[in-house]
Every structure is written in structure tokens, then in C-alpha cells.
Symmetry: C2
Subunit: 335 residues, 2 copies
């Protein structure tokens, strides 16, 4: 392994000078600098980041905590985060919590020493734990907002408004919301948003259960949806919507004729199924990139007073799972 000393002796200077050539090139004489850099590339020298980190206190790594890589929503975010992080020479530690809130804080702690900061994506932990996590390591929240921590979120309430506007325009007046995990902050935002939007349109809202944010969770929701007598549902996320869509079809329910379905996230699968899912498109990669930018900004100005809380807009993508209500089916199910 080639060290800074090898480069130094090869270039006939001291290690300090070599170091300066990399960290503050302008203060070393041009001729010297050029000679050093030439030897460095010639020897294929790369600074040992662990050694550098030991003294600077910076690791060049950022940590990313997320609930479940198996949900295609998150890999998109990872891609955005990685791309942006690599632009600034940062590496990313990815940690999957398997939707278990109990392990989140522990993972943050165990990762803290090895990263300069963390991005907590859709964390399920409680606000107090979140505050504690933030003391352990500089933290940016992604798809969550809490206690004045810097965060990147999406316009959940506005998204729900768009969904309800769309359903109202189609003529629905009895709509369901299929909830995801009880601990999901986004979920609570969405419920609040859809309540308000439904009220504004005079639409009756049925809130249906809490389900795992997975395809299976959506299947499990089918019975409750059918019993509720609604003509349209908005689901917590696309996976639930897809599971629901499938379970309904297996029971002979025609989507969108008998029931309209709207998801949230716009994961790639949603465009692959038939009928293709109408959904609220969330800017996934972009939100990941923004989170990195925000974190780097926080790292650069540790004492900033007002940590920014960004909100990115969602956009309704109308595909094939929404249509005007089927009067006959509606009256049948409500009967």
C-alpha cells in the first residue's frame, strides 16, 4: 500500500507538503505541487480516508436508514442519494430496518461513529427518539418532519387534495382511505389531508384499517374495502393499492368499473400492471438528492439556526384504475 511518505520521498519533499498539495493546493509553490501530484498519480496514491478521518473527524461517509428495500419506493431514493453523494465524494452506508421501529435507534447509534451524518428515510421512531438520534449524529429527515430537524418532505396534504379533486370530478361521493403502518408519519399526514379534502367536497370518507405497507397488506385490506361500501379508495401507498387491486380482481370485482383505486408513490411496478395504477407521483430520486444537499449544507454550517424544511410537490398520474362510479355496484355494496 502506497502511503503519503512514499509520495513524499519520491518527490523529495516532506509528508506535510504532500498533504497540503491535496488539502490546500494554493499554498504550495506551483513547481513543487506539480511534481508532487505527478508522483502521486504515478504511484497511484490515494489518501487513506480512515487515517484522515481520525484527525479531521470526518469520515466522508453518510448513513442512510430506511424501512424496507423490498418496497421499490426506497431503491429509487437510494439511487438519488447515492448519485448526489458521489458527486461530493461521499460514500453511503445503507441500512434496512425491516419496518421495525425498535431497531432504528440502535442502528443509528452503531453507525454514528462511521458517518458524518445520517439521512433517516421515513423513520418510524417516536419524536423523542428522533431527537435523540439527532444528538448522536447530524441528521436530515426524509419523508418525515419532526421537532425542527432539517427535513425533505412531500406535499402530502396537497397530494390528497389532488386525489379527492380527481375522484370528485368523476362523481364519487363515498371514498375510502386504506391506512398503512400506524407509526407512519406520512400516513397520518395523508389521513389528515384527505379528511380535509373530502370535507371540502362534501365527500363521505371511510378510513379502513391499518395494514402493512406491502402487497400482502393490500390483499388483506380487500374485505374491509368491500364491506365499507365505497366506490373509490385511496391507498397509503402503491404496494397496498396493487395488493388490493389484485385481491379484488380475484373476487370478481372490476377495477375501475366497480371500484376506483388511487395509490401513492408511483413505483415502477404501478405502470407495469394492467389496469395500470392511477397514483400520486412522488419525486423519489429528487427527494433523495435534496436530502443529500441538505445534509451537506448542515455539515458545512453546523451552527445554523433555522434548519430548512423543504417540501416537494406530488403530481397525480392518471392511468387506468379510476373511472366514474358504477351506480349499480355502489348501491349493491351499500345495500
Amino acid at each position: 500500500m502506497v502511503t503519503i511518505r512514499d509520495v513524499a520521498s519520491a518527490a523529495g519533499v516532506s509528508p506535510s507538503t504532500v498533504s497540503r498539495c491535496f488539502t490546500q493546493p494554493e499554498i504550495v509553490e506551483a513547481a513543487t505541487r506539480e511534481r508532487v501530484l505527478r508522483m502521486a498519480t504515478h504511484l497511484d496514491y490515494r489518501p487513506n480516508r480512515a487515517a484522515r478521518g481520525l484527525i479531521t473527524g470526518r469520515t466522508g461517509n453518510i448513513g442512510l436508514l430506511l424501512p424496507d428495500l423490498a418496497n421499490p419506493f426506497f431503491p429509487s431514493i437510494v439511487k438519488g442519494i447515492q448519485h448526489q453523494a458521489h458527486l461530493s465524494e461521499y460514500q453511503v452506508f445503507v441500512v434496512d430496518t425491516d419496518e421495525d421501529p425498535a431497531v432504528e435507534l440502535g442502528l443509528v447509534r452503531s453507525l454514528a461513529k462511521q458517518v458524518d451524518g445520517m439521512i433517516l428515510c421515513s423513520p418510524r421512531m417516536r419524536p423523542a427518539e428522533l431527537a435523540e438520534a439527532a444528538t448522536v449524529s447530524p441528521t436530515v429527515l426524509l419523508h418525515r418532519r419532526a421537532g425542527g430537524l432539517p427535513s425533505v418532505g412531500i406535499g402530502n396534504a396537497d397530494a390528497m387534495r389532488q386525489a379527492i379533486d380527481h375522484l370528485a370530478a368523476l362523481g364519487h361521493d363515498r371514498v375510502g382511505f386504506v391506512s398503512g403502518p400506524r407509526r407512519s408519519w406520512s400516513g397520518r399526514q395523508r389521513v389528515a389531508g384527505i379528511r380535509k379534502a373530502a370535507a371540502a367536497h362534501g365527500i363521505t370518507l371511510e378510513e379502513i384499517g391499518h395494514f402493512a405497507p406491502t402487497f400482502e397488506g393490500g390483499s388483506a385490506a380487500a374485505q374491509g374495502v368491500l364491506l365499507s361500501g365505497v366506490t373509490a379508495v385511496v391507498a397509503y401507498n402503491d404496494l397496498i393499492a396493487l395488493g388490493l387491486l389484485n385481491a379484488l380482481r380475484d373476487r370478481g370485482v372490476d377495477v375501475p368499473r366497480d371500484l376506483s383505486i388511487i395509490g401513492v408513490d408511483d413505483i415502477s411496478v404501478s405502470a407495469m400492471v394492467r389496469p395500470a395504477l392511477t397514483t400520486l407521483s412522488v419525486p423519489k430520486e429528487e427527494s433523495g438528492r435534496e436530502a443529500v444537499d441538505l445534509l451537506l449544507q448542515v455539515l458545512a454550517h453546523p451552527g445554523a439556526r433555522n434548519p430548512p424544511a423543504e417540501t416537494l410537490p406530488c403530481r397525480l398520474t392518471v392511468r387506468q384504475t379510476t373511472a366514474p362510479p358504477n351506480q349499480r355496484a355502489a348501491t349493491r355494496t351499500t345495500a
Copy 2:
């Protein structure tokens, strides 16, 4: 930040003793050890891994290179790898190459210093580059085999045999194979395997193009498949199969009546679409776990002469996209 010296003075011993309590507990006297460990937990001391790595040469990290996180095949592997790595207190650096072979080697080099070893998942680079990567850092190949490097793979040829057996049993005698990336080693294995299996059954094999291993790639393959006059196709992977399935439906082709489709991977989406995709189930998480085990084994015995090359079996999962050939449709398309 609490250091080893803090623990040492709190416990009334030297830093050396504290260090030994963690690295080789058996050589320090029981009473002393207990006192030290009690102080350590009390102060919430955690060894600085960068500092430790500086002297031991071990980082406690492993690197994972993969082509595209957006393909649901890979997140499953990541989960398996992470889970197994965390059991041995290793962290995982994940790097996505966006299917670009040109950047792979560079990423390996830039990551090398920060990891103890790397898992290269479905790398697209050439054997010579692979050999070079292996000199840079201890390497395990996942879903690829090359030049005696330790590897974990799947039984591609056997998988193709199962697919052809299934299609032959249904009565197909003219089958297509839709190829993925030209640089994919698995792809070449599968072509070779399916050629042999088809020959054994007296089945005519049509090899159709090279396509991106994505949903869009599958859509693009539709025309070629229709022109080929086959009654069944096996696709390089599930995403291509799904794209194909969709594009065919949009052209009015009924799957499986007019055409049978078999994918490879068994990604979660394949069970979510209708008709659900018949596919070769690859043990994704398991292969990830095996790769970690293998890498740790390599790290523990650096001089081992015969690096193991494991092969995990695939299993055909029959769903709804395979059926006996439709005689009329077949003659129509071959006309």
C-alpha cells in the same frame, strides 16, 4: 466523544488493558475485565473503527457493487447481504453502476481502501478487469464465475433445462430466448443452457436480439418475438418478460393462449401482475448471504488455495403465463 483513555482512567487501568478486554478478553484477569467492561458500558464507549482499522488494517466494511438497484432483483440480494454482514458486525457500502461496465473498475478502486473485501454482483466487466479488481481487494463474485475467483452462482443451465422441460411437456416445439445485455455472463450461460436443453428435446430455438434488462427492454423485444413465429419464449429476466407481456397485450396477443412466457429471477412483481408470470425462482437473499459467508471465509484464510465456487439451484415456479401452444395462432404468425 469517549475514548479508550477515558475508560482506562475511569477503571484505573492503562489503555492497553481496556483494549485487550475487547480484543482478547481471556487474557485479562476476570475482576479487572469485569470492572473495565462495566465502566465501558457505563460511559457508552464504542471503539472508533477508523482508529482500529488504521492499525489492524481491517475496516469492518464490505463493498457491494451491483448493476441497477431499480431492478427489484438486486434489492433482495442487498437485503440478504446486509443481514448476513450485520451478524458479523460488518457494514455494507452499496454502489450502483447503472449498468455501465466502464465505471465498474473505477468504483472498485475507489472503494478498495475503505473495505476489507468486495462482493461483485453480476459484474459486466471483462475477465481481465475482474482479475485486476481481485488484486485490488479480496473479491467474491455473485452471479458470475470467472478465472478461479471465489463465487456464488446459480444453476443457469439447469434452470433452462427446467424451463424447456416444462414447455416441451406442454407441447411447444418452437421456442424463443430473449437475450439481455451482451456483457452479461449469466446471459451467456443461459443461452448455452437453453441451446443444449432445446436440442435434447428436438425443439427449434430462436435467439432474439439483445435488450436492456428492463421493462422497456422487454417492450422493445415484442416485435422481434412476434416475427420469430415461436409459441413460447424464455426471457433473460423477469423485467424483460414483464415488458414483453405488456407490449404483447397492447397488441392484442393473448398470453398464455397465443404465446407462453417464462422469466428468470422471480422478482416480487412477477406475482403481482395478471397473468402472473411463470418464472425460474432464483434464491436471491440466500445467494447474498452465501456471498457474505464466502467473503468472510476468504478474509479469514487469505492464503486458501482452492477458492470455493458455490452453485445454488433454481426452481421453476409455474404461474399463469404458460400453456399449451395455440395451433391457429402459431400457424398464423409463421405464415
